[in-house]
Amino acid sequence: MTRLQQVLFELESPYYGHPYFVSGNAVFNAVARRVGAATRGALHVSHGVFLPGEYGEYPAGASQDGYAGKLGLSLPDVESYEDLFVFRDAAQRWLLDSRPRDAHNLHPLQTHGGRLAFDDSCWFGRPAEMRDHRRSVSWFLHCYLHAGRDGVVPVAEDVLDGIRVGGTRNYGFGKVSVVETQLVAALNARQRRCRNFDIQISASVGALSGDSEIGRSDFSRLAW
């Protein structure tokens, strides 16, 4: 029986860390200092994947289909295996084609003394006749927590809330707040066949660097 805790964080400040994703190690260390030794010893954390808080539609294979509203702002219900992977692909295929999907999915950059950090939100223009001429898209971080034994997950929201990940954390970078967590008690037949579950989760994120074996795999799937 694998119990997965799905966590959606919102970025509260710019992030200066691993550009592809927040490594599971970084999230683990941020959480580990807030929990007891027993939890620390049993907890596993997946990579955290960045996604924009934007409108979307459920991707092919998900248990629901059609328009999903502001999908990036909350966790979709998990009823099928594919639901676990809705946010796990950097290409974020659920983003609507009727909106500037590549602009929304580009992690906004800012420079600090020549260093490139990722912004926690991005501004877009709106029609001039509207009272508010701009709208913002916030950025989120999605990861999975699980443990080798019972009683560890779910980790309480107030423990996860406000952790900081990435570089220059002491200067306020990389702060994230919990938006939603969801416990997935999941071990159906299909997942049981998929023994190397954690590897698949990280592989769907993409390569760590050019020479990574995982990065060469063909996990990226064409969704059309």
Binding site: P19, Y20, A91, P100, D102, H107, G114, P127, S209, S220
Partner: protein, 283 residues
């Protein structure tokens, strides 16, 4: 805000090309490919375009469906929708800055048109800045006419060599050099050189897929080697991570050009980063 009629800017690329070969005076189809979207550089819809600019035949349909295939590499198929609120201009919006690209390129349209030699035209387009200031369609302001045109020419050249779309690869040219293969090179900037070709040889390459689609992120993620030094510099890793997020081909290729110009010092280009401190981002 003017509402643009859909049929004007839509997939005009689907125009039948049966009468092209019949015309005895027709120019080299590759030359025509580089001139097929000149109306966009003059901010005109295809239906309102003139046929001659500066004594040169322009806006001819491209044979073998290369234009339509290149279009669906960068834009959704079917009726276009206005994707950016209150913006319906032929000026491109930069993905990097979010701003409308400056119109001061210092080039004139004539320079893009005058050559009659297809290879010369290709070399001009690869380094051109004027067409990078325009989008493929006001409905998709982040797309780029420059890279759309280069993709059209690359597809056409491959089709004419007997390759089908499913045989094509995105190939990484020798890193750190600005090597250019006529018509096949779709991007060459700051030591980063990419080609769309049916003959990748021993270059690192990834297949484009069976059918044209906005598949840039997938193709990029499958490349067995990066065209730049992701292990050596965080700036290249930031670019690499962003390219795994962009699905439109012309948007992504234009983003590489803009990012390299903005953030990568000349000596850091490609893998030749000796003496490059990378702004303290080497880790």
């Amino acid at each position: 805000m003017t509402t643009l009629a859909r049929w004007v800017i839509g997939m005009h690329d689907a125009i039948p090309d049966s009468d092209v070969d019949a015309d005895a005076d027709a120019v080299d189809p590759l030359v025509a490919a580089y001139r097929h979207d000149v109306h966009k550089l003059r901010a005109r819809a295809h239906s309102h375009a003139v046929d001659w600019v500066g004594g040169v035949r322009v806006n001819e349909p491209v044979p073998d469906g290369a234009d339509g295939d290149a279009a669906v590499l960068s834009r959704p198929r079917g009726d276009p929708e206005q994707t950016v609120d209150a913006y319906a201009s032929w000026r491109r919006v930069s993905l990097l800055t979010g701003e409308v690209v400056s119109s001061e390129s210092g080039e004139s349209l004539d320079e893009l048109l005058v050559a009659d030699d297809a290879e010369e035209l290709h070399a001009t387009w690869v380094s051109a800045t004027l067409p990078a200031g325009f989008n493929e369609s006001p409905y998709y302001p982040y797309t780029s006419v420059k890279y759309h045109t280069l993709l059209v020419a690359a597809l056409l050249d491959n089709y004419r060599s007997g390759h089908e779309f499913g045989d094509l690869f995105l190939a990484v040219e020798a890193t750190g050099t600005d090597s250019v293969t006529p018509h096949r090179t779709v991007l060459s900037t700051g030591g980063v050189s990419l080609a769309v070709t049916g003959e990748p040889g021993d270059r690192p390459a990834a297949r484009l897929g069976d059918v044209p689609a906005r598949s840039f992120a997938d193709t990029w993620a499958r490349l067995p080697a990066s065209p730049f030094d992701v292990a050596g510099s965080r700036r290249w890793r930031v670019l690499d991570s962003q390219l795994r997020r962009i699905r439109s081909w012309s948007v992504a290729l234009q983003f590489i050009e803009d990012y390299v110009a903005a953030f990568v010092p000349a000596q850091c280009a490609g893998h030749g980063r000796r003496g490059c401190r990378g702004g303290g981002e080497g880790r």
